[in-house]
């Protein structure tokens, strides 16, 4: 066992929680960059389309980045599902079970559910937008995809906006527990700083979840 300590690490409860935490924080970082991109919608069609075009123009590098991102998503989801299934087996089957009110929060208790909703959202989101309707436009003499039009068209539907806002609410809930918990899992809990990390986690959840939701509602109100 000693000689295979690293091997055991990736199968242990703590090692896998480390990976869930690291991938979760990476996904938090991705969301920030995604939100910053979305805010270009507010600037105008050209700014948003140029940004998207620049990303696409990365060519091979973009595929590497996308593959990396997909891997981060898959590791996070796979380990979270595995750990949760184990936890379901390990938990005590009580006739009556109540929380103390000083530990578990609604956010922490709903992590698997908000996570599953976000997975469904992710698939639909890619289908509707990235792999959605394709229009072309010309900006500064360059022909490029009019992803602005695709996006605004999508958000013209109140059902789409409603689902999107709900999903972003789930994302906020998920990260409100996940952000600070990742620090705890990685061993970064210091009495002096952990309170602040928790506050940053809540602020992150509100700003990022709220930011995405705001852009979608803005797009709906602006119309196609």
């Amino acid at each position: 066992m000693m000689t295979s300590a690293v091997n055991h690490y990736f199968r242990s409860s703590i090692g896998r929680k480390h990976l869930v935490g690291i991938t979760g924080l990476l996904l938090c970082g991705f969301l920030v960059s995604h939100l910053l991109g979305n805010l270009l919608l507010l600037v105008g069609p050209d700014a948003f389309n140029l940004y998207a075009h620049k990303l696409v123009s990365l060519g091979g590098l973009l595929y590497v980045l996308e593959a990396g991102l997909a891997l981060v998503f898959l590791v996070h989801m796979y380990l979270a599902v595995r750990l949760n299934l184990e936890n379901l087996r390990s938990r005590g089957k009580y006739a009556v079970k109540k929380r103390t009110g000083r530990g578990t929060t609604l956010m922490s208790a709903t992590m698997p559910y908000t996570g599953m909703i976000l997975l469904v959202f992710l698939v639909l989101h890619l289908m509707n937008l990235k792999f959605g309707s394709v229009y072309t436009t010309v900006v500064d003499g360059t022909e490029m995809r009019d992803i602005y039009k695709t996006t605004m068209e999508y958000f013209a539907s109140p059902v789409s906006v409603g689902w999107y806002v709900f999903a972003m609410f789930c994302a906020a809930f998920h990260t409100a527990h996940g952000f600070s918990s990742a620090f705890q899992s990685l061993g970064w809990n210091h009495p002096k700083y952990y309170g602040k990390v928790k506050i940053i986690g809540y602020l992150y959840a509100i700003l990022v979840g709220g930011g995405f939701a705001f852009v979608s509602v803005w797009a709906y109100l602006k119309g196609v």
Partner: protein
Amino acid sequence: MASTTDTMSLNLKIWRQKDPTVEGKLVDYKVDNVSPDQSFLEMIDVLNDQLVRKGEDPIAFDHDCREGICGMCSMTIDGKAHGGFKNTTTCQVHMRLYKSGDTIVIEPFRAQAFPVIKDLTVDRSAIDKVMAAGGYVTANTGNAPDGNAIPIPKPVADAAMDAAACIGCGACVASCPNGSGMLFMSAKVSQLALLPQGKPEAPRRALNMVYTHDSLGFGNCSVHAECEATCPKGISIEHIARANREYMKAAFSYHEKTHSEGGA
């Protein structure tokens, strides 16, 4: 002070299970003449006395010191381990916390790692196995050393003492939505990793205790912190974070020399 002559009547729903092989169920009992000054366990004693007099099988439950330091008493009271009162073991719960006419549901500490033996007693030997995997210091102790021979900074001694307060009752496991023994395991890893006496074996301890913890059917930590809220000794999940660090360090840097490499 409230008059001690006022007695209470309580309706109890208690988990009865003959042995580990059969299904148990909640059984209704009524117990009268409960003094508000009695402890929860004394209230069960009164009920058991009534049951024995009627020729019925008394309720099996774990208890020993009845002063909150041995870690033997358990019971999940109204869905909360040790009743869910802050920093309190079941034996230190007093009946004045309840009102006459209350219905109280009493179940054993439940977790996959804690199979029921009978009624409210569960087999908590899994936590002993985690302890046996490394929750000690291997040293020829000889006579008691001079208290000042090994200087330990006060904040470090305090942190180690906070972890050492663990009485191994298993409430963390019983209250955890995942049935994880992480708080218990981490308290010992953390306590000994903080102290100079425990440092030499810290990596091996962390590896062995985590390995054993994971192999006994305990769940994984989801940072609900329900354990911290339930722990009768108020042990913080900071110790889980420290154990996580210790484990990560050990997994990536510790190598025990084999015999051919000159090791023991």
